[in-house]
Symmetry: C2
Subunit: 448 residues, 2 copies
Amino acid sequence: MATQTLAAWTVSLSYSDLPEEVIHAAVRSFYNIAGCIVGGSRHTATITARNALSPFSGPPTSHLLGTNTSTDAMHAALFNGIASHVHDYDDTHLDTIIHPTGPVACALLAIIPTLSRPVSGPEFITALVAGIEAECKIGLAVWPAHYDVGWHITSTTGSIGAAVAVAKLFALEVGQVAYAIGLAATQVTGLREMFGSHAKSFHPGRAAQNGLIAALLAREGFTSSVEALEAKRGWASVVCSGGNRLEEEIAGLGSGRWEIVRNAFKPFPCGIVVHPVIDGCVWLHGELERVGVDVADVEEVVADVHPLVLELTGKTAPRDGLEAKFSVYHGGAVGLLLGKAAPAQYEDDVVLDKRVVALRARFIAVADECLRADECHLVVKVRGGASLEKHVDYAVGSLERPMTNEQLTAKFVDQCVGILGEERTDKASQWCWNLEHQADMGRVEGML
Amino acid sequence: MATQTLAAWTVSLSYSDLPEEVIHAAVRSFYNIAGCIVGGSRHTATITARNALSPFSGPPTSHLLGTNTSTDAMHAALFNGIASHVHDYDDTHLDTIIHPTGPVACALLAIIPTLSRPVSGPEFITALVAGIEAECKIGLAVWPAHYDVGWHITSTTGSIGAAVAVAKLFALEVGQVAYAIGLAATQVTGLREMFGSHAKSFHPGRAAQNGLIAALLAREGFTSSVEALEAKRGWASVVCSGGNRLEEEIAGLGSGRWEIVRNAFKPFPCGIVVHPVIDGCVWLHGELERVGVDVADVEEVVADVHPLVLELTGKTAPRDGLEAKFSVYHGGAVGLLLGKAAPAQYEDDVVLDKRVVALRARFIAVADECLRADECHLVVKVRGGASLEKHVDYAVGSLERPMTNEQLTAKFVDQCVGILGEERTDKASQWCWNLEHQADMGRVEGML
């Protein structure tokens, strides 16, 4: 039932069904991921993948954001998808910790230039929303057991979301959409064991490809199962052995609760559990400046945090930027020392910078079960006995304190300006904010 | 430990380590899969996939067996992989029911023409053996729970086997081989729910691609986990929750038990549980002829079979060739009526042929727990009261009654002759049997 219901809902969805807040959330999701793809386009992982696979590239129809290069749609989906996630700076559906926009948007952007017609902003938004709702509803159906057992839920659901979105763009019939869902579901990509390595960002890139190939095959008449998601040995049972809520969640499509409006945006390029500490440390950086204290005189920082923070990000001595994303100590140290934790503060040389290493060593993180995951308490002890405190109730970027459009713009500019230059960055920013009114999404090539 | 052990074993393996029986098994495995790829090259699934994806193809370096076409290595691996499995006629490692050769051989054949040097038969055999041993040892480690929960073990292990084989061909260092294993392991492709649809044959094709992309990325410096297989949330734990024998099986590499010598070859293009019934019915076809009885006068056929036969292949009224593979009734009917069950007897028009439909309806299969899976007992009742019996103790193609080289040749010729013509088929057959002595595997393009 769930597979056919999802397929039928996908086919029937139209732009006019989307409430204003859904469109607003879709624009913000696209805006954020566009900046992330550009920002990730020069990361070693992205460049390594391009170098490894470019000998196999086909007709260069599809633009690689942040570069002057195009490649075939299949490889563009992969490379843009890697770039979208490599800084861990993309969006987060907090109820499932899925990063939903990357796989879906990268599949769509890759295939659009191969169509013989222009795709408008509203059509793009409709397909994007279809894909993101599919990912998140399916993710909710298997959360948290699926993640706990070791699956990277972003890519396991991302393949299916990308297939749904591309199938929507292709205007496939219900039966073909169902086959596309099945073909995506049978490619279960992403083990959490890969976290901390390049392979983590490969996951959403491969998910974009998985979904794209699924929709292309289904369009041509390639068959799969008609009940791929819910069958006795279907996706949900196989990837989540202890039961699931698939039928309930899929039945909830279009019923009023839209998952995309629950999508959040990261102010810092690392796991969200570190965000309260960084948020507080950035504030304390300003406070130390205000009272005229040099950070070199900080003797100790004690951070009371939710236990999950230490479980997920307890690396005390990260050796490079990728490991630093799993270090609450690094996030806190750069926040306090530099007043900022953008991708530049996760470059390898910053991670190994003496001042950063020294400050990390003075950080003590204490698990406190009374705190929520988006809350923390910080005490900075300064030479001479003085101390400063900061309680962060909800971190910036949480649903309670979402990033404003201005903050998203600043994040976009920070990621793009060094790559596109000021003028192009400003133009691209305006173009992306204006997604609803675009007549031709193929123009992304000249913009980003 | 297992990941590094497998990587180190892969690097150290040399042709001179391979016992004669292993080389013999590798040649037979290659010979059989080459015929299957040619035989599957004109199946709807293969053609549909080619049509859907050829707009994205890159430099046409790599041959599609059975056609006059080449495409880029990545797509060649996929299309040849689909063809290798689409008739369910490939090899079977009976202890795990993995079909091991397709994913590995298709990845190797695709990438070889892109190298700047010739690859000899012995080098090919060494890489093929490395990949097949990897697949089967890992498969044994998670068998049967992994299959029972719903994974298509051929492709879930096939990705890793293909990565190992290509990494061997690339002569990667141990650390890079381990990363390639991790990058393959994180792409867990293949749900059994897809059985009976085109997606089933997509699995080994995608597995060949998964392994190929993994080795290409690792060669370029893309990183993954150093303990991808055995970590707490590594491959084995995630895809087989009830425990595994990974370390023991991987430790057994090179210790004397070679899995490839336990590889079997199918005389009939369907699940092996049907083989005893077909084997017996083909014998009974000859017997009916000998005694001068028309098959139209058969009133009833009673087949006592292992219970798994009905569980897996209980379709009484298959609607097309793919469904017929899951029908013991169809296999028995064509065996008795036509004396043969090759791919031609699984064409849609044969499945719907009136005489076949009528005979299928006269078949009764009875589960008998006392019988082994490769055993059956058949009673044919003829109009007028006469009856014939046949007890099949071990079906042809089992390890106890393996297909002879002559039978493999007949199977090869049957698959190739309609596609390559007689002369090319004979030449190709000789060339494949002579694998050990080939100087340049790139010549496959002119042969098959």
